[in-house]
Symmetry: C3
Subunit: 341 residues, 3 copies
């Protein structure tokens, strides 16, 4: 059961309803009318809760779980705990996501501006916005309908936010044009000047940055992540891209649609990622690179050259993943041979 | 001497008192009644100050220091500057820590809630709390006795803080149950949703996170570090764990007791660390791993597999440290041979 | 054209004026009186705008740009688009920087303290300061003339800021003495305690930190970067050093003058960098190292030993860059040979 201090599940839902929500097939002699009250992890779920299996590592938990129902791929159906209703889906994680969203939709936003917020009189707020205590919204900012501006967040002058955006506590946004349904997590920094200066022994000469940050619809920017504005060109985050905590996006970077950047990735200035590029944790990319559509970069990879579309790269300096794996094995064998001497 | 703008040392203490506080033995013909007024580094200390030596790199500074007294291991006693009183201890850094804590205990907390703070009427504050200007404490939060909530910090709805916690300036906490004597440094982000969604070309589908962050007693979370709440299971930080700045702890991660994570470490989702695991700076751990009790991971290591208890691992992909060292040497020799051709 | 929501260019300037500002030579049959109204990137600039070329990657854009004028090195002059006025300079990026600063100087600061700021009565503000809404300035802080304290920023007790400093939104500063013209970006954390404790199975024993952070003139500290105060010695950032986003500077670290640390670099405790050291992105340095003047550390390098002045190092563990390159090639050849078997 989810903690009532923090969560208030909708429902209950009958198994048949959940199957429809999930696009799943009810199996294992399940009672379609059985009522499910909440979601829960496999090892904690009870008879009136639904869970999921999406990783072979947890097959044992699946086999011993007391969950009343479970979303699972058909191939694992026969490993289920006795009596567990099954919701069979080819993409079980996605199916389960739909169920979680049914039980736990975003809480309704109670509109209003806290008396402890500071909103410049020239800023505009769309209908149904909520602005929490300590938030500061500067001159001429345009906040779309139903946006939620968190406590102590700061929205700079002229910033545009689309509808249904969430700006987390203590985040700051400046020099940015942002689409709809964008989530900016607590402490994220959007729109400050990039790391741009003309170096020299007589003193590094700062270059004022006159570009912006342009963020498409449905983007997420993680906690304490940083997205610098462009130096002249814009910094662009394509629609649907997911950026995790503590990621650095430098000035003039362009991300295509649906990119996924895990925690602590760093993208240097003017590098461009195509659509649906995946960067695992702590990947670093040098400046001015081109990473093709659908490329995947393994954790901690250090990219110093362009990557073609669809390629998988790893290592530092990064090479195709197959090469990286062979290098790793070759190095291991080299040591083994030396060990035998 | 410490800077009076920022510090007000207690004392003075006689050398005999310091020896007792530190659990050290006074040596080198020291006058037990000699009064010491403050602590100082070896190269800055004067005749009425105490310093310490814990690293051979600083033996020269130890030999020429003007410190009136010094905490040191017995083996280095004969390298002391002439006339320096010695406080001999087998664990000199720990002994010195006790002395520093005597001179510089946490300043007394002046209870009260700033008129510029925003505390929801349904939140509860224990006796002796101090809430600084701009802090926001949301509905039903329970703040234990003698907590110090920093300026512009944000405590979310329903959060529970044990006694004697410190929440730094501009930090934010939500969806969390926190023990006693926990220190959350400025800008740390606790409890936001993790990086969880069902990816797909038709759009990545965000999964609402219904777990919490559970933090044990005596934990420290560094500046601008991020600890995401669980997706269903909880994210758990065991008692006494020390987490440095800019560390990323993903959803569902579990840390045992007394773990030490240096700056910029990243722990991916659902990975579990045992007790007293040490991660040096910039280590990255993939998801769903198990790291055994007492394991040590060298700086920048990239963990892709489980690690047994007590093991020392390094490199990317990480291997036992002895193997990593031999790989490094083998690679160096390979280049040397090629160089000779 | 720069976005009028965010920028208001000065000017226009005649080409002759720009040449003088930039220290450049006007060429390509340019009309010295031609008026230029703003800056713009090569691919977006129009006939009344000036751009620059500083990277061979963009020679094609240079050859097809519609920019009215362009700052460029003499060697590329003959690659210019037809009709483009040229401003020839041996250091074109620096020359262009001067032009951008002419069009886009820092906006004039409108002095005043927001009614929604909290300034302790014992703090002092120099002439011409601006303090934004939600900022908190604690007891005895001394803020120099013309400082700009951003929204929801926090300046701790006793902190000293020189003239013309900028503290970004949501940044926090404590236990610090800061020079003139220092820029602290949004969310940066300056002066909190470092990661210092005596570890032990009976509990890690925190050591109070009694040092400070000393920051020289003209330093920049990036967004969400962290600079811990010293444990007894100070943490020192030399004049003119440029520190990018998400960088970690541990307790007792010393940086010389003019150092450049790119994003996500981590410097461990007590390590000292000389003057004009360059660390590329995600570099990690172990504790207690000495890095000589003018050394360069390649991206993701892991430094475990001292580095002599002027050296270039790369890899983990870091070695001279020439060695690292040969290691990389040797490893690649090892795999190629194996592949042929």
């Amino acid at each position: 059961m989810t903690d009532p201090r923090f969560f208030s599940p909708q429902g209950p839902f009958a198994l048949a309803e959940l199957a429809e929500i999930a696009g799943a097939v009810l199996a294992n002699n399940a009672d379609a009318k059985r009522r499910i009250v909440d979601i829960a992890p496999l090892d904690a779920a009870g008879a009136d809760e639904v869970s999921f299996l999406d990783n072979r590592r947890y097959l044992d938990a699946f086999a011993t779980s007391k969950a009343g129902a479970c979303v699972v791929a058909p191939e694992f159906a026969d490993r289920a705990a006795p009596g567990m209703a099954l919701l069979l889906a080819d993409a079980p994680y996605r199916a389960y996501a739909r169920i979680v969203r049914a039980f736990h939709p975003a809480p309704p936003l109670e509109p209003g501006v806290s008396a402890a917020a500071t909103v410049d009189e020239s800023a505009t707020l769309g209908a149904g916005c909520r602005v929490e205590a300590g938030a500061v919204i500067d001159a001429r900012a345009e906040i779309g309908a139903r946006c939620h501006i968190g406590a102590n967040a700061v929205i700079g002058a002229g910033v545009v936010l689309g509808e249904d955006c969430v700006v987390g506590a203590c985040a700051s946004v400046s020099h940015a044009l942002i689409g709809a349904r964008v989530a900016i997590y607590p402490g994220a920094r959007i729109g400050q000047e990039g790391f741009g200066f003309a170096p020299g022994a007589e003193g590094h000469l700062r270059i004022p940055h006159t570009g912006r940050v342009i963020i498409g619809d449905d983007v997420e920017i993680g906690a304490n992540a940083t997205v610098d504005r462009g130096s002249g060109p814009d910094t662009v985050i394509g629609a649907g891209s997911m950026i995790d905590n503590l990621v650095q996006i430098a000035h003039n970077v362009q991300l295509g649609k649906g990119c996924i950047l895990a925690a602590q990735v760093g993208v240097s200035g003017s590098t461009r990622l195509g659509n649906f590029v995946v960067c695992a944790g702590q990947v670093g990319l040098a400046g001015h690179l081109r990473i093709g559509d659908g490329a995947t970069l393994a954790a901690q990879a250090g990219l110093m050259r362009d990557v073609p579309p669809g390629a998988v790269y790893g290592g530092t300096p990064a090479v195709p993943a197959t090469t990286w794996k062979r290098q790793t094995i070759a190095l291991m064998r080299l040591v083994e041979r030396k060990g035998k001497k």
